[in-house]
């Protein structure tokens, strides 16, 4: 029964998208049809999650066709992992739709925007509830396509156009190995159904699990914006802010982490890939946090922060902390979406993205101030907010890691602690920069207390609740892990996952709080000295330029990939013109040459013509006589 509800939940937003696309531009019609199906889907996911409880996995599928020896089935697979993630997805999508109704409601292309968000939600729910790897892939790709359209929503701006293509290309660069990985999985397990694939990992059926895991990891790197496929996420901030909240904070980038958690038994068979994951996560979390500290655009700070937090999740997965990573995913979805939406409100108010144009909004926008503070505290990992428990869970798992997870554990622990400190630093910088300090001269600003409209505030408040309160789950001990289910989707067992208790361990907690307080104090002192200036300028010094441009990573890519590709294209064009076309032109030249030679026979002299004629006659006569006499 719950599988049918789950399937319905993933189909309803698609239906809503279709109706919105077909229905034209009537704004009220669009507003209704964009929010109502998503709200219904949210309710359904809640019912599914509550009904599932801590039970095992239930699958229902209908085979719709075959591809060679393999059958493809649609339906739903409800496990603890998918139920919880689906609630997150539907919840954030609903908040974003409600927020957008007033944020973008007056703009010309609101109808297509809302429809695409609904379609995106449907695709993400398909990924989450997929019973079959092929169906998962379909949802995965549709998400990529919707992301392309939505990032490029303001296609009048060239940076939006190039950002959407960049996002698409970079995720595709990861998706191609991902496809190969899925095909390898399906072929070796003789089926694409997820429970068969996981059982095959349990029974050690796979020939080279290391290669498969590496291929799958490529897709995850692309979709979840980890090094080296990370630079599309900051540029994707050229799209509307609610999009960043939905896609680039809570759902699409989380899909990569979700897939790793889903196919965890396969990754567990490949210790080399786990080390690689840990190294990549470590590089990404530190590098992105440093870049976030230097950015002046509020949305870019949040983008780099997302990359860094996703690296935390990836790091958690690489040390065997599957439950901890998924917990961090859920809370991160909540507080990051909150932060993005609040940032959107502030940006609308101030009329600019830059931190330098903001300041002193504490009393002018109190509700936004309150909710954003909650979100930033969760981000910085301050108890008792949920982000604290999420981060501590990952660090604890890294500390307690043993066996094949030991080496990744050390890497993740070291860099995780450093990053915790830097995270606190940039969160504090953002808080101080937006809400405290002197009030800059902005032409749109006035003294009166002008808060955002209600439809924008309600999602903020709704998201602030889990951001603040979700830490309470930890009080229930290891029940979250039980709800999440084991590696193979079975219920309640703690098979293979270590330290499933989310209660923070003592040693790592102390260290991380020390780091956070230390770095935070540095930022506060720098700010105090000169409230009007950017604290990052004094703290980072000469490194600021490097960090502001993201370690000039894009230039490296341009040098390594773009220039050779362009040179190759020029070479091909040259070959086409001068080698292939030379043959074509050569045939023309040859024909003309032949014609000219033949034209020389037309001398105009009748006697010459007659000579040729009689020559032919003589030859014919001679041949005829010879043949006639000899034979």
């Amino acid at each position: 029964m719950i599988t049918v509800l789950a399937l319905l939940a993933s189909l309803l937003p698609a239906f809503g998208a279709a109706v919105t696309f077909a229905g034209g531009r009537d704004v009220r019609h669009v507003k209704f049809w964009s929010t109502a199906p998503v709200a219904a889907a949210f309710v359904l996911t809640l019912i599914v999650a509550l009904d599932h409880g801590t039970g095992g996995t239930s699958v229902r599928g209908w085979t719709i066709g075959t591809a060679g020896d393999y059958s493809i089935s649609v339906g739903a697979r409800v496990s603890g992992l998918s139920a919880l993630t689906a609630v997150l997805v539907a919840g954030v999508a609903l908040c974003v739709q409600v927020f957008s109704a007033s944020y973008l409601g007056g703009e010309p292309r609101y109808a297509s925007y809302a429809a695409l968000i609904s379609l995106f939600t449907a695709a993400m729910l398909t990924v989450v509830y997929a019973p079959d790897l092929i169906v998962l892939l379909v949802g995965w790709e549709i998400m990529g396509a919707c992301s392309y359209f939505l990032i490029g929503h303001y296609w009048e701006k060239p940076e939006a156009r190039s950002a959407s293509i960049k996002a698409f290309l970079m995720t595709k660069a990861g998706d191609v190995p991902f496809l190969f990985g899925i095909i390898a999985l399906g072929v070796q397990a003789h089926s694409f159904q997820i429970f068969v694939v996981l059982q095959a990992a349990h029974n050690d059926v796979y020939d080279h699990p290391g290669w498969i895991a590496a291929l799958l990891l490529c897709g995850v790197l692309g979709k979840s914006a980890q090094f080296p496929l990370h630079s599309w996420l900051p540029d994707a901030m050229a799209g509307p802010t609610p999009i960043s909240a939905l896609i680039h904070a809570a759902t699409m980038v989380a899909a990569g982490i979700y897939v790793v958690a889903l196919l965890y038994p396969i990754f567990a068979l490949a210790p080399d890939v786990l080390i690689a994951m840990a190294v990549i996560a470590a590089i990404t979390m530190c590098g992105a946090a440093l870049c976030a500290l230097a950015q002046t655009d509020v949305k870019k700070i949040l983008a780099y922060s997302t990359v860094s937090q996703l690296a935390y999740m990836l790091g958690g997965l690489s040390v065997g902390g599957r439950s901890q990573a998924m917990y961090l995913l859920l809370v991160h979805g909540a507080f990051k979406a909150l932060l993005f939406l609040a940032a959107g409100v502030v940006i609308h108010r101030v009329g600019s993205n830059e931190l330098s144009a903001m300041g002193g909004l504490r009393f002018r926008m109190p509700i936004t101030y309150g909710t954003m503070t909650i979100g930033l505290l969760a981000l910085a990992g301050i108890p008792p907010f949920s982000g604290f428990f999420g981060k501590e869970g990952v660090l604890g798992a890294a500390f307690d890691a043993s066996g094949e997870f030991a080496a990744p554990g050390k890497i993740v622990l070291t860099f995780g602690l450093i990053t915790a400190g830097i995270t606190a630093a940039y969160a504090l910088r953002m808080w101080l920069g937006i809400f405290h300090g002197p009030f800059p001269d902005a032409p749109q600003e006035h003294e009166a207390r002008v808060e955002a409209p209600q439809t924008e505030l309600i999602p903020l408040i709704l998201l602030a609740i889990p951001a603040a309160a979700l830490g309470v789950v930890v009080l229930f001990g290891s029940d979250f892990s039980k709800a999440l289910g084991g590696w193979y989707g079975e219920s309640g067992s703690l098979l293979g996952s270590s330290a499933a208790d989310l209660w923070p361990g003592g040693f790592t907690t102390l260290l991380s709080l020390l780091f956070a307080l230390g770095f935070g104090t540095l930022v506060f002192l720098a700010w105090r000295r000169n409230p009007q200036a950017d604290p990052a300028v004094t703290l980072l010094g000469p490194a600021r330029g490097l960090l502001l441009n993201g370690f000039y990573f894009d230039r490296v890519i341009a040098l390594a990939l773009v220039r050779p590709t362009r040179a190759a294209a020029r070479l091909v064009a040259y070959l086409d013109t001068n080698v292939l076309d030379a043959y074509v032109r050569g045939s023309g030249v040859g024909a003309r040459g032949l014609g000219t030679m033949l034209r020389r026979l037309q001398t105009g002299s009748v006697q010459f013509y007659l000579t040729c004629l009689f020559l032919g006659v003589v030859i014919m006569a001679a041949v005829y006589a010879y043949v006639g006499t000899v034979s």
Binding site: S605, Q607, F608, T611, C612, F614, L615, V618, I619, A621, A622, A625, T629
Partner: protein, 187 residues
């Protein structure tokens, strides 16, 4: 009545000698640079062919050959030479650069024809005197007006057509009025 090649009869000897004269004068007709000399050598050629006819006992034909060719046709040529103001003296460019291809064609034709003829008629002999009765004026006239009357009449029509054609072509003015100012400019 067959005898070998190496013991020719008197007719054959005479035939060969006159044949040499024919060929020689023919060659001179086509190679000599002076057009008037060419015409004169043509008379010699025609004459020697008439002698050949006599040797083949075609009497009437021999005299008709001399009369018409030697008498009328050559005179026509000489008149043509005069009227077109052909150079009376020798001219260098009289043989065109088509010489060598034409020579090849001529030699090829000669080779082919001679080979075919010799191979076909190696074993054929005939007595030329046996046809004397057929060559006389009486015999020829009888044949002509017994079996060949119709072609004879048609031939006379053809001669009429040729006559009319020649007159029309060579008129000045009248039907050829467009040419009149042209030649007046030359004249």
């Amino acid at each position: 009545m067959s005898h070998g090649y190496l013991s020719p009869t008197g007719v054959e000897i005479a035939f060969v000698l006159v044949g040499l004269v024919t060929l020689g004068s023919g060659l001179l007709v086509v190679t000599v640079k002076n057009l008037v000399y060419a015409a004169l050598w043509l008379i010699v050629c025609m004459g020697s062919i008439a002698v050949e006819y006599l040797l083949l006992s075609a009497e009437l034909l021999a005299w008709i050959q001399v009369l018409i060719y030697g008498g009328a046709v050559i005179v026509l040529f000489l008149f043509g030479l005069m009227l077109t103001r052909a150079p009376i003296g020798p001219t260098e460019e009289l043989n065109v650069r088509n010489r060598w291809p034409a020579a090849i064609v001529g030699l090829g034709a000669a080779g082919t024809l001679v080979t075919v003829v010799v191979q076909a008629y190696q074993h054929t002999w005939f007595d030329p005197r046996g046809a004397v009765s057929l060559g006389s004026a009486q015999a020829l006239g009888g044949q002509l007006f017994k079996y060949w009357v119709l072609p004879f009449e048609v031939l006379s029509v053809l001669l009429l057509a040729a006559l009319v054609g020649a007159i029309v072509l060579s008129r000045r003015g009248g039907a050829l009025g467009a040419q009149a100012p042209n030649e007046e400019a030359e004249a």
